[in-house]
Symmetry: C3
Subunit: 302 residues, 3 copies
């Protein structure tokens, strides 16, 4: 949990993931000695701020995006969104420009957002939700559980993983853009036919807290039924609690797997949260445990 | 026509094309003995549910998508669309889940669709329009003429084709996703510079029944004028009746040719239907004949 | 300036860029003898209507799109847009079909545009704004400064360029489609890690005439901060006047660099115009000079 708390404290909106990337590399180097299999690490400027870990002989890749939503300063105290942050007046935002640290408030309306701060903030400055981590009564609540929990899950998976890619992608919240080069690298290095998207989804009228990890049958995009059928058969076998999601909207790194020039099946599997894209994202710890168990199981069996 | 009737009876919404794919493979194996040239067949899990046929030395590829629009069951009797099906209250839908066969009715509104059925249907179940084929007075009317007729055209083309790719793609109705890997495979196997999209378009104020196959000068996307000029010159030479379409909306597999990392020209050529994406799609048999003749001519001359 | 005036007189809407392409090739062949480095030229049908120039050992590529917005004739005197032209009733449009030259007026409304001409114009005919070039008081005003000035900048850059790609792309105004194959060719021929987009942006509440070339920190898409930081440090060093743009909307060839399967950083740098996508686009000549100077500086230093 110390890992998760530190990770939740790091800011890294889409396009500015280097801080998270550097921290993750440090964690990997510190911990990989105790992992069952020592992965080959691919990172650095050739991969921008993304990181790939290759364990053994991969059949499947797990993708966890390391960027978050946020805000960018425009002109005249205006803010424009990075990804799709929830507008809640008065939300505390933090950041930094060349004049120093910033702690300000979100003002205006959803269509015309402003910051409330005593001085002008430099153009292009990135602001994020002020972090406030709350763990109690079987829940974790904080900003950016999406997708810090997805990263945490991928990292926990590394402990016992024998064969597979674990990939930390960037830019997911703002339309994507790292997946195409990551997939090309994977397919030219140790190709796979299956991908799991380690990300956080939504509490809805069909998805509830404490009912297990969510396996998504579709969001805006639709995985191939043949692959879903295999995943579901294994999920049943596993006895790990899970729920089935069917959505018309939303997307993930799975979208870019789907539209890549490779015949790779994909499926989104992750815990659900409410208060999505706000400072108060809330996830059941039991669902998070089910997510971790399901990934360990599927990466062995798929 | 027996081929077409059987094909119209098969369900295969985007993401669940395996039934159609398996049936097509069987038809190809049965009939290819009588074709002028014996194609090389590429299919199976490496191609998901798509199929490629290579005849001789290809200069041009023909793409016909094998998926259809439909519906997916969500929660609480809700349905969400796959592709863009027309909402008509009371339309009969069919499908199957683990509890058995389903025949139900479409209810609700365009923005909040439901099924009307005595029991709950399992999450993720795919439903399609109940089929009702009507042939009379020079027309064929049925669900899913888009794109069963495009498949039929591509299949008829195979009989006398000497050089070219005939490709059965998937996922077209729901944003695409097989074209990128199909195009990559084609360009790495026997590359082409030209693509024809064998698909069905719309009756509009400028496109009428019985006026010939439609050659589309644009939909949402715009083919290159130099290629269109060559296609039109050949179409004139052919004496086969055709009409010119100019639309601001709509897309096809041509979109993915356009955005692929290959310099391949493309053009959409197909008969027009009215009652688009409903159970009552209607196409002139003379226009279908013109489509078949035009493909045979162009694949020789282009 | 004679170069620019001739270029502004050439019509070339997205999909029909061959006239501009042929003229550019002629200019390149005439002038390259006086350039510091003689580039390798890639053009012709394998590249559709795009052109690539390779100078020395490239680290960075400059992209300038050669297409413009315009209109296409549909049915019953209707026009549909190519790209996003501004609707201004009475605007003079010119073009040509098999019956001869056309000079007509734009009529109707933004959602239902028509042409006003004594005879029917053939389906698919492309129309463009009638050109009217005005140079005075430190400004240039004309149709299609976007992106004839971007081409002009790229062409001026060629005079002293030692290392780099200069690329003339197509289809940018209408969703793109040449960048994927251009980037693939570049990466397989002389790969780069950096791209500059030589294009024209907008005067807004934060961007003014005569304040220097615009360096865009984001439009709808967001370049990587690490790369922006390097560009800005060099821009400061250069002492060339520049302004910082932060926009929520708009796109450029940079979008396709971002979503390509290559880890290439990109940044949009160009002068700003008002009366965007109208016949009266207006750019400060001082800003254009700053653009030319900035490209020369950055292509040396990046």
């Amino acid at each position: 949990m110390e890992f998760l708390k530190q990770l939740l404290g790091l800011s890294g909106v889409s396009g500015d993931e280097s801080l998270v990337s550097d921290w993750l590399i440090k964690q990997i180097l510190q911990r990989m000695g105790s992992w069952k299999v020592c992965p080959k690490i691919y990172s650095g400027e050739d991969f921008h701020d993304a990181i790939l870990l290759k364990f053994g002989e991969p059949r499947t890749a797990v993708f966890a995006h390391i960027d978050t939503i946020g805000f960018m300063v425009r002109y005249n105290n205006q803010l424009i969104p990075i990804g799709g942050p929830e507008f809640i007046e008065g939300t505390k935002l933090v950041g930094k420009d060349s004049l120093g640290e910033i702690r300000c408030k979100l003002a205006g309306t959803e269509d015309a957002m402003f910051y409330d701060f005593p001085r002008a903030i430099e153009r292009g400055t990135r602001l994020t939700f002020e972090q406030n981590i709350r763990i109690s009564s079987g829940f974790i609540q904080a900003a950016y559980l999406d997708n810090r929990l997805g990263i945490y899950n991928a990292f926990r998976l590394c402990e016992n993983l024998e064969n597979g890619w674990v990939v930390f992608s960037t830019y997911e919240e703002h339309g994507g853009g790292s997946m195409p080069f990551l997939l090309k690298f994977i397919q030219e290095t140790a190709p796979i036919k299956q991908a799991l998207i380690s990300d956080i989804t939504w509490i809805t009228e069909g998805i509830e807290h404490h009912q297990g990890v969510v396996i998504s049958l579709r969001d805006k995009f639709i995985p191939r039924k043949k692959f879903l059928d295999r995943v579901l058969a294994l999920a049943d076998q596993s006895k790990i609690p899970y729920q089935l999601e069917v959505e018309a909207y939303g997307g993930s790194d799975g979208r870019e797997v789907q539209f890549s020039p490779y015949a790779i099946d994909w499926c989104f599997i992750g815990a659900a949260e409410d208060h999505v894209h706000s400072p108060d994202e809330k996830v059941s710890l039991a669902d998070l445990d089910a997510m971790i168990s399901m990934y360990e199981y599927l990466m062995k069996e798929l």
